[in-house]
């Protein structure tokens, strides 16, 4: 078996070529269904713009987000009486440019989303695969632990975890990831249970594939669609929860230009300076809305049951 005849080599090359074009066709099909949903395309465009804004924050932002202009406290936006052209969206109570803080804030929100989803996804998939693949006592134990996590409102549990770990952005992200993880565990487990007795899995097992190969290479790729949709929803949830923790003073700490923290700092000025409250929240809403639009589009494109309806 160690020798490979030229014929088999050619076959392998052909097979690879075929699988590549199949992948291309699948991607084209996915894009076809995704682009049918206009909202999803708009969401994707907004999301890409946000990413660009975060990446090039230092080039776009007109001011340093932490510099306090002592002669410009609570300057209203430029179109209002008293506004200054150098501060398009006005300044906050200590004279910092709100637009620049919002632009830098995009970095934090997207970073939070990426880190939280990565932790929750990797942890959730691994635990879910183990539960669904092993069954028995391991499965029961894991699922009971997940039930316990889900018995608490997510924000409350995150708050309590942050109280244990100490306030701060990193700890807030860990707490939110722990809280979001059970959804991935449940989804993965359900998908694995549906797949594990299928013929191709049995065939792979008979052919001698080990546990890890069966779990990660054979079964996992076929369970990805619902996980991708859930990951998108978790991305927006993570941003919302992190902003909520920041708002309650348990997330990113001032003077970090995180949007929720900015709102918390602005609270006492709500009746005097509407702009310090309005813009950070609007930024959160637009970001979360864009991601949820993409999520809806992904679900339509990846879920074959809804596709035909």
């Amino acid at each position: 078996m160690t020798e490979t005849s030229p014929a088999t080599k050619a076959d392998t090359a052909k097979l690879e070529e075929e699988s590549r074009s199949a992948a291309k066709a699948r991607l084209a099909e996915f894009w076809y269904y995704f682009s049918q949903n206009k909202g999803a395309v708009v969401g994707l465009v907004v999301f890409v713009l946000l990413v660009l804004m975060a990446v090039f924050a230092s080039l776009i932002a007109p001011h340093n987000p932490d510099v306090q202009y002592r002669d410009s406290f609570l300057v209203p936006p430029v179109w209002q009486e008293g506004g200054k052209t150098e501060f398009l969206l006005g300044t906050d109570a200590v004279g910092r440019d709100i637009l620049s803080r919002l632009i830098y804030g995009a970095q934090f929100s997207l970073f939070i989303g990426v880190v939280v989803v990565t932790i929750a996804l990797v942890g959730g998939i691994t635990i879910g695969l183990v539960a669904g693949y092993m069954r028995g006592a391991v499965d029961t134990f894991i699922m009971r632990v997940m039930d316990i996590i889900l018995a608490f409102p997510s924000l409350l549990l995150a708050l309590v975890l942050v109280a244990i770990l100490g306030p701060g952005l990193i700890n807030a992200m860990i707490a939110i990831a722990i809280v979001l993880q059970p959804h991935f565990v449940r989804l993965t487990r359900a998908a694995v249970l549906a797949e594990r007795s299928r013929d191709y899995v049995v065939a792979a097992r008979v052919a001698g594939a080990g546990h890890f190969r069966l779990m990660f290479k054979t079964i996992l790729p076929n369970c990805l669609a619902p996980l991708i949709v859930q990951a998108t929803l978790s991305f927006s949830n993570a941003i919302l929860d992190a902003a909520a923790l920041g708002f309650l003073g348990m997330g990113a700490q001032p003077p970090t230009p995180e949007w929720g923290t900015m709102l918390a700092e602005a609270r006492e000025f709500i009746l005097r300076a509407w702009w310090v409250v309005t813009f950070p929240g609007l930024a959160i809403l637009i970001t979360v809305l864009a991601i949820n639009l993409v999520g809806d589009g992904l679900r339509d494109a990846l879920d074959p049951k809804l596709k035909r309806s």
Binding site: F152, L159, F247, M250, G260, L285
Partner: protein, 335 residues
């Protein structure tokens, strides 16, 4: 049915003990021991500390502390608040009606608007009305409600001056609490204007808390209706010439509502999490604000007790929803 019920209860028991374990571990996982936290920066005399540790049972082995804790729970002892020196359960009981009143108003608002909106969107599928309703629902679903609350305050309390900014009722009114529900108590008191004041205080927080459940219920109702409207029995009902109203109301809606009821049940967790933010914004004296304040002032026995009670409520409501679901839908109970 009995077997189904017992099965559900059987699943609940390990979860309940898990929840007690989480609440129990919470205080022990905090950096530093509880008494150092309590003493704060002033510090505490070692002798007095040992005495207090023994008094509170912190010197016993962990497993025994846990058993004592669980026994205490069954006797209604959830610890004592550092700040008020009152039992946690008593504090909870005084504050809970405020949260319950707010949450009930919010869920009623969400159901009364969400279900009709979802039905309408499904029936008029693809129309501008459908797109507008679903667009609004997605915005509501994506809403950072703490910001939404602040916006409403700016507009309705700041600019229009229609509603008060905080609290449950104007300080002008004072009457005994009978039910703990301000709307009912103010009516019972017979004081002029008290009921109106309670309503005006309740409106904005209810809208804020209802926003996400409303969006979820509208979306869920629409998709459940769409699924049912494509079924054969609906087509049959149409074919035999029934008016659209009875096809939608009688044949479609009753079946579409089954998943919607589950969704409504699941909103309890969303409501309690939302109450944390809503009550903080509107200074609403309920358990959400109580917990946030307690975390801020490190009153950890309150947090521990609150965790347990809130998880208990959510588990109880989920059980009730499960049982209701089994009652409506026999297919579930026999699987």
């Amino acid at each position: 049915m009995l077997r189904f019920l017992l099965g559900r209860l059987g699943l609940l028991i390990p979860t309940f003990f898990g929840v007690t374990l989480v609440a129990f571990s919470f205080i022990r996982l905090l950096p530093g021991d509880p008494l150092d936290l309590l003493a704060g920066e002033r510090g505490i005399d070692p002798e007095r500390k040992a005495e207090l540790m023994a008094q509170m049972g912190f010197d016993k082995p962990l497993w025994q502390q846990y058993i004592d804790y669980v026994i205490g729970i069954f006797q209604g002892d959830l610890g004592t608040s550092f700040a008020s020196k009152k039992p946690v359960l008593d504090e909870f009981m005084t504050l809970f009606p405020a949260t319950a009143e707010l949450a009930l108003c919010a869920i009623i608002l969400a159901v009364c608007l969400g279900i009709p909106a979802g039905i309408f969107a499904a029936v008029k599928r693809g129309s501008i009305a459908d797109q507008a309703i679903m667009g609004t629902a997605l915005v509501g679903y994506s809403m950072p409600i703490f910001w939404w609350g602040l916006l409403l305050i700016i507009f309705f309390s700041g600019i229009l001056q229609w509603t008060p900014v905080s609290g449950r009722i104007s300080l002008l009114y004072f009457f005994p609490q009978v039910t703990g529900f301000m709307l009912i108590d103010s009516l019972l008191s017979g004081e002029k204007g008290a009921f109106l004041s309670a309503v005006r205080h309740l409106i904005l927080p209810s809208i804020v808390l209802a926003t996400i459940p409303l969006a979820v219920i509208a979306r869920q109702t629409r998709s459940a209706m769409l699924e049912v409207l494509g079924e054969d029995y609906v087509r049959t009902a149409r074919a035999k010439g029934l008016p659209p109203r009875s096809v939608i109301g009688l044949h479609a809606l009753r079946n579409a509502l089954i998943p919607v009821i589950t969704t409504i049940g699941l909103q309890v967790g969303v409501l309690l999490a939302g109450a944390i933010l809503t009550e903080t914004i509107f200074s609403w004296p309920g358990i959400g604000k109580w917990l946030v304040d307690s975390i801020a002032r490190r009153d950890y026995f309150v947090v521990q007790g609150g965790l347990l009670l809130i998880a208990g409520i959510i588990m109880l409501v989920n059980l009730i929803v499960d049982v209701l679901y089994g009652l409506i839908n026999p297919r579930i109970r026999h699987t």
